[in-house]
């Protein structure tokens, strides 16, 4: 029993770390552009398939394939934001959110049109799982986690120290003041659309590395992504990380009491509980 709980905890931390990547993307876009960009689902899928093309078709190893996933999903994010979502923003956050759902349906079906509905797996070397104290841990899981952590570390450094990162935080914190200081909100918006959706793409691929991918890959994880962002506090990047770990661990621990098929319901319940007890999330709404 104890070993089982420990195993689930380990799995939960791994899942949570991977989940944190798209959750950061979602929450960062919310922080700067002030609307929930539901198109994150299709961008997870696009990233997963871009990584698949790099990895399987061109035989690139996982880490550089992730970079490709970031670029492709980011580019899609940038272009669709510029031409589809940005013109909607004057009509309000909710209208933009609805357009984002339409966008996610379109992009998901573009992927479906190109690749079909079949499940696809990445081409990865197979290793034997490590075992210690009765807990199994796959080298692939560890590598995925390391990749996720490095992506997040790079992002934190970018936000903390680079000039662009600082302007992004400034716009998130107080758009009016940022505008007075001469920060180009349009440019910051483009950067956050690119980086946020790029992260979604990386997240989609990371979550798919362990299993397989299909056009619904993004859609299946998106509820957990929302849950992570809301639990941590919508718009807070450290919150998204904490929220993702909480949701990841909760999803795994739920296996003790419910059927595995209910795993994705945990995200919804987490949202309900947090909004009832602590609507601003664990870390409160704060941009950085």
């Amino acid at each position: 029993m104890l070993a089982e709980v420990a195993q689930l905890l380990v799995n939960g931390i791994v899942t949570g770390t991977l989940l944190a990547v798209p959750a950061i993307g979602f929450t960062a876009i919310f922080a700067v552009l002030r609307f929930p960009n539901f198109a994150i689902a299709s961008h997870c899928t696009i990233g997963a398939f871009a990584g698949y093309v790099a990895n399987v078709t061109f035989g690139v190893p996982a880490a550089p394939a992730l970079a490709f996933a970031f670029l492709v999903a980011g580019l899609f994010g940038l272009l669709t934001d510029e031409f589809v979502l940005k013109p909607m923003r004057p009509y309000g956050a909710l209208t933009t959110a609805i357009a984002a759902i339409a966008l996610t349906v379109v992009l998901e079906n573009v992927v479906r049109f190109a690749f079909g509905n079949d499940l696809r797996g990445y081409d990865l070397p197979i290793f034997r799982d490590w075992r210690f104290w009765g807990i199994r841990l796959g080298p692939q899981q560890v590598e995925n986690m390391a990749l996720a952590v490095s992506v997040m570390a790079a992002l934190f450094l970018f936000l903390k120290f680079s000039r662009t990162g600082k302007t992004m935080r400034a716009v998130a914190d107080n758009p009016t003041l940022a505008a007075i200081k001469g920060i180009d909100a349009d440019l910051v918006g483009r950067i956050v659309a690119f980086v946020g959706m790029g992260l979604a793409g990386v997240g989609g691929m990371l979550l798919g590395l362990d299993t397989s991918i299909d056009p619904l890959t993004g859609f299946r994880v998106v509820l957990s992504v929302f849950a992570a962002a809301v639990v941590g506090g919508l718009g807070s990047i450290p919150g998204a990380v904490v929220g993702a770990l909480v949701v990841g661990v909760a999803e795994e621990l739920s296996l003790l009491v419910v059927e595995p098929t209910y795993r994705s319901a945990v995200g919804f319940l987490a949202i309900l509980i947090v909004l009832t007890l602590r609507p601003r999330g664990l870390l409160g709404e704060k941009a950085y």
Binding site: A93, A102, V105, N109, Y262, I271
Partner: protein
Amino acid sequence: MENYLVAIVTFAGIYALLAMGLNVSWGMTGLVNLGMAGFFALGAYASAILTVRTGAWIPLGFGLAAIVAALAGAALMGITRKLRGDYLAIITLGFSEFVRLVAANEIWLTRGSDGISGIPGPWRGELSPAQFNVLFCVIVLVLVAVAYVVCERLRDSPYGRVLRAVREDDTVAAVAGKAVDRYKLQAFAIGAGIMGVAGAAYGHYTSYIAPDIFRPLITIYIFLALTAGGVGNNRGAVVGAFLVMAILEGTRFLWDVVPGLAAVQKAALREIVIGVLLIVVMRLRPEGLLPEPVPKVLDKETTR
């Protein structure tokens, strides 16, 4: 062919109910509902389970469907009432997935992914399939008419004015002494209730429901229907629903002309068309074909 057309009109009528339900919450009150598939499913399951299990009178099933969906709507609205609309968007989106999960897993109640078959329809046994088709089409059209009259009364009444005030600026409505939270809760619940009725109609018409029928895509269909028809306008909601149904069915044949497309690709193209249309309509004609009528009282003062 007649049968096919009658069936299309029936489904369009069901969409019209959904669109009017959405119009009460989103069109009149500005409360976004991205979980339409969930309320639709909830209504369908509530009515199907009641009538199949207990053999209850079908109108009771419709009633239960409305109540269950309305209560669920009130609960979701209650949880997010103090928060920005973004949270309602997220929670309703999650809700529709949650309903689908429960429907797929609580086999004792919903028969899981096998679905519930043999849902009774009014006089289904006594009538030929073609006659039943026509009868049910009439029933759905009557439901649409009733919903239309109720929603129009709602829109014209002082109550509807408060809803619009909440939509435009809920702080101002609150300053004017209106219990904004209560209005939001009621409007959202009424909208959800109408969607529940649509679900019940769907189940009793097709006699079979399963979790996969209630895909979130329906949310896009209905938003397109309402946006194309005219947000805030009940007539627009109905017209938009028929329009969307025509597009859905029309595109079904369109791709047959193009050679070399797999079935999956045709299905994908159909959904791309719907998604792109929603974006284009929102972008180019956000007020829809039939814009929301300006309230009569204001009309005299504002014209010229």
